[in-house]
């Protein structure tokens, strides 16, 4: 099925690669699910956009969609997921080392929302891959 609507090429540029689409979804969901940008990894993530070529309008749309999802209630799930990961006994050694290591604490990884958003954004990679493939096929068609 052809995927066509006015301005489609602005949102999903022609010739965009699969990896670019997947990264756009990962970046967008990570930024959108996170409660703010006051953590180091998100600042680095934004700076990395100067180096990586990603479809920025699609990135903004994904970020806004995930932000809106957070506002309508997904936040509670993200918080619960983050807490579960942070309180996982087998990971406590890793978290303790990270918590007391230089620089890493600036990522605020020990915040339930930050951790939940990270896990969710990365955990959804299979979905992002499937979505990217579908989009790419539709654009080509």
């Amino acid at each position: 099925m052809a995927f066509s609507f006015p301005g489609r090429s602005l949102i999903i540029p022609n010739g965009v690669s699969l990896i670019q689409l997947v990264l756009t979804f990962i970046y967008g969901s990570w930024l959108g699910f996170s409660p703010g940008i006051g953590s180091l990894h998100l600042v680095l993530l934004l700076l990395s956009l100067c180096i990586l070529r990603l479809p920025l309008i699609l990135l903004l749309i994904v970020t806004a969609a995930c932000w809106a999802l957070g506002m309508v209630g997904v936040d509670a799930g993200i918080h619960a997921l983050g807490l579960k990961v942070l309180r996982e006994p087998s990971l406590s050694g890793l978290w303790t080392q990270m918590y007391n290591a230089p620089v890493i604490p600036w990522t605020r990884f020990n915040n339930s929302m930050v951790m939940g958003a990270t896990v969710l954004a990365l955990g959804l990679i299979p979905l992002w891959v499937v979505l990217s493939l579908t989009l790419r096929r539709s654009v080509r068609a």
Binding site: G15, Q20, L46, L49, R53, N100, V103, R108
Partner: protein, 637 residues
């Protein structure tokens, strides 16, 4: 199809430089503003009223933050600052900063003023919801300090104001008194016993039963044939046992009724004891003041104690959660959930916040607004368990311009172990007090226009157990006494006019929710004495009147009740008497019959024994003669 381009922008130099430039610009232009806004917000929340920061400067190269002109609004007087600090500097440690922790290696606080006039009144935050932990508990404590407010003095003033209660007996509901309740109980109990006794009497043998036994006994005649005597005796014994059993039943019932008669007296006696309780209840209902005035010191001095403790209460409630090493949800944000910060403290790790040392200094200038202060705060941290020393606060100084001398505060807040132990000592040698009301009610108001105060407070919190001691003194008093009634005013003037010094000592201990207070004051002692003198005659007269009325009513009630019970007992006794008499008669008759028969038996027995003896003698003589005739012994005739 035209390619979008590779993943990497090989010409990323310009965008990256722009990105970094944006960050640098933010750091230099907006970071200080944003930090100042954040610190103002946090400090305002902690203070309960607006906090303003004149300027905030961060130095990334020097790793310090400098804050100037900090003004903390007094929530109770928003046109004044509770505290004003001209300059503060915080030197941050780089190892901590790299780890995302705020470790302040050294800090200074300079040039301090208190109670300085603000340019415009500060904003005061609404009070926190009552369920908030800590502060809510403290509020409860304040209520518990003064549980009988407006009762002790109000009642006394009521009597003084009205020159005694006019006709105090007219509105009394006598049915509610303890003695009336006891009478109702006795009556109910008596009704139950009545039923029990009537049931018991119904089952007792009647006179006819005894008459029948008597008739049966009369029918038994002494036998002519001696062999029948034993059988007749057995019959009589059996009748006697039957009569005895019936007699025992009647006798036991009679005894029970007799005992009941004795118990009636005891029950009635209890009523006499209850008259005292009646008087106490009536005194309470008529709001007659208790001349012990046990809670007078709490009532009069409670507001003053609360005022002294208030600053400490509010600040402690605010500071306590930050001293506890537990995970706290971040303050809620309006749009998105802020999440919870989970700590993973290492034994040798750093707390998220640690103020290692802060020097406080302020030098008074001639006629200037600054105070003369010296002090330090050490080891204030968000995770006390990771810090080797407890938090210590030391502060001393004077504020000459405000007339405050000898201010001294020392605190050791040790939250490093499971059970926290905080010791706080605050003292002010002398401070001026102006236009303060100690207590204010409908009938009277007591306060002073001016005084010179002194205060010492010791506070220990261990777990949830609090020990608190407060000694307050006010000298050079200029009293303010107002009262609607001339009599009350004269009384209060006579008590307080000569007093030039007031001492209040308060002690409290126990958990926050139920502190046990003990308050003493010479003010209360003087007032108590004066009130006793003024009221004792009137109260005694009223209580006499009550007692007479109660005695009169009690005598009537008692008479009726006792008469009813005694009449009933007499009726039961008269019911039992015929049966008892019959029983006695039956028993006597059977005994007489048995005795008669027994004497007959005895006579027959004696006669038989006589015969046997004579027969034996005859046989002996006969045997002797036979022997003599057979044996011819010479010389024996």
């Amino acid at each position: 199809m035209k390619s979008y381009g590779g993943l990497i922008r090989w010409k990323f130099g310009l965008p990256l430089a722009l990105g970094i430039l944006a960050l640098v610009l933010y750091t230099f232009l907006l970071l200080d503003q944003q930090l100042r806004w954040l610190m103002e917000k946090l400090a305002t929340d902690a203070n309960g009223a607006e906090v303003n920061i004149g300027s905030l400067k961060t130095s990334i190269s020097g790793l310090y933050i400098e804050v100037q002109k900090v003004q903390m609004t007094d929530p109770e007087a928003p046109e004044f600052n509770r505290l004003e600090v001209d300059k503060m500097r915080f030197d941050l440690g780089s190892p901590g900063l790299l780890r995302g922790k705020v470790i302040i290696e050294d800090a200074t606080m300079q040039d301090i003023q208190i109670h300085a006039k603000r340019a415009r009144p500060g904003r005061v935050l609404p009070p926190p919801p009552p369920e908030a932990e800590g502060l809510g508990a403290l509020d409860k404590t304040k209520d518990m300090l003064n549980p009988v407010k407006d009762e002790v003095m109000a009642n006394a003033m009521n009597v003084l104001k009205d020159k005694g209660l006019v006709n105090p007996l007219k509105d009394i509901n006598w049915e509610d008194l303890p003695s009336r309740q006891a009478i109702r109980q006795i009556e109910g109990d008596w009704n139950n016993r009545q039923q029990m006794f009537q049931g018991m009497i119904g089952t007792l043998p009647k006179p006819a039963d005894f008459q029948q036994i008597k008739a049966e006994a009369s029918a038994i005649k002494p036998p002519d044939d001696p062999t029948q005597i034993q059988a007749t005796l057995a019959n009589i014994d059996s009748l006697k046992a039957k009569a005895q059993a019936q007699y025992d039943k009647v006798d036991a019932a009679a005894q029970q009724i007799k005992n009941e008669g004795a118990q009636v007296s005891n029950r009635i006696k209890i009523l006499d004891e209850l008259v005292k309780q009646d008087i106490a209840v009536l005194s309470q209902k008529l709001k007659l003041p208790d001349l012990d005035f046990k809670n007078l010191a709490e009532e009069i001095c409670g507001p003053e104690i609360k005022r002294s403790l208030k600053v400490f209460e509010v600040y402690y409630a605010k500071v306590k959660p930050y001293l506890e090493s537990k995970e706290k949800p971040a303050p809620s944000k309006p749009l998105r959930l802020a999440g919870t910060d989970v700590s993973f403290p290492d034994r040798n790790g750093l707390p998220a916040f640690w103020l290692k040392k802060m020097q406080i200094s302020s030098k008074e200038t001639a006629g200037g607004p600054l105070g003369d202060m010296l002090g330090k705060v050490t080891d204030l941290s968000s995770t006390p368990a990771l810090v080797p020393q407890p938090t210590m606060v030391e502060l001393e100084g004077n504020f000459q311009q405000l007339g405050i001398q000898g201010l001294k505060a020392e605190a050791t807040l040790d939250h490093r172990k499971a059970v926290a132990r905080d010791v706080i000592q605050v003292g002010v040698a002398s401070f001026p007090v102006a236009d303060r009301m100690l207590t204010q009610s409908q009938d009277y108001a007591l306060g002073f226009y001016k005084a010179q105060g002194g205060l010492n407070m010791n506070f220990i919190l261990e777990g949830d157990q609090v020990q608190l001691e407060m000694n307050s003194m006010m000298k050079q008093l200029s009293w303010k006494v107002e009262a609607q009634s001339e009599r009350i005013k004269a009384l209060l003037d006579s008590v307080f006019g000569p007093m030039t010094e007031v001492r209040i000592a308060a002690k409290a201990q126990g958990p926050w929710q139920s502190l046990q207070w003990n308050v003493t004051s010479n003010l209360a002692d003087h007032l108590r004495q004066a009130l006793r003198q003024a009221l004792s005659k009137e109260i005694a007269a009223m209580q006499d009147q009550l007692k007479q009325e109660l005695d009169k009513r009690m005598a009537e009630e008692k008479g009726k009740l006792e008469g009813r019970m005694r009449d009933q007992l007499k009726a039961w006794e008269s019911q039992l008497n015929p049966a008892q008499q019959e029983a006695e008669g039956t028993r006597s008759q059977i005994d007489a019959q048995k005795n008669q028969l027994q004497s007959m038996v005895d006579a027959k027995k004696a006669e038989a024994e006589q015969k046997i003896s004579e027969e034996k003698k005859k046989q002996e003589e006969k045997a002797k003669d036979q022997i003599k005739s057979k044996l011819k012994i010479p010389g024996l005739k």
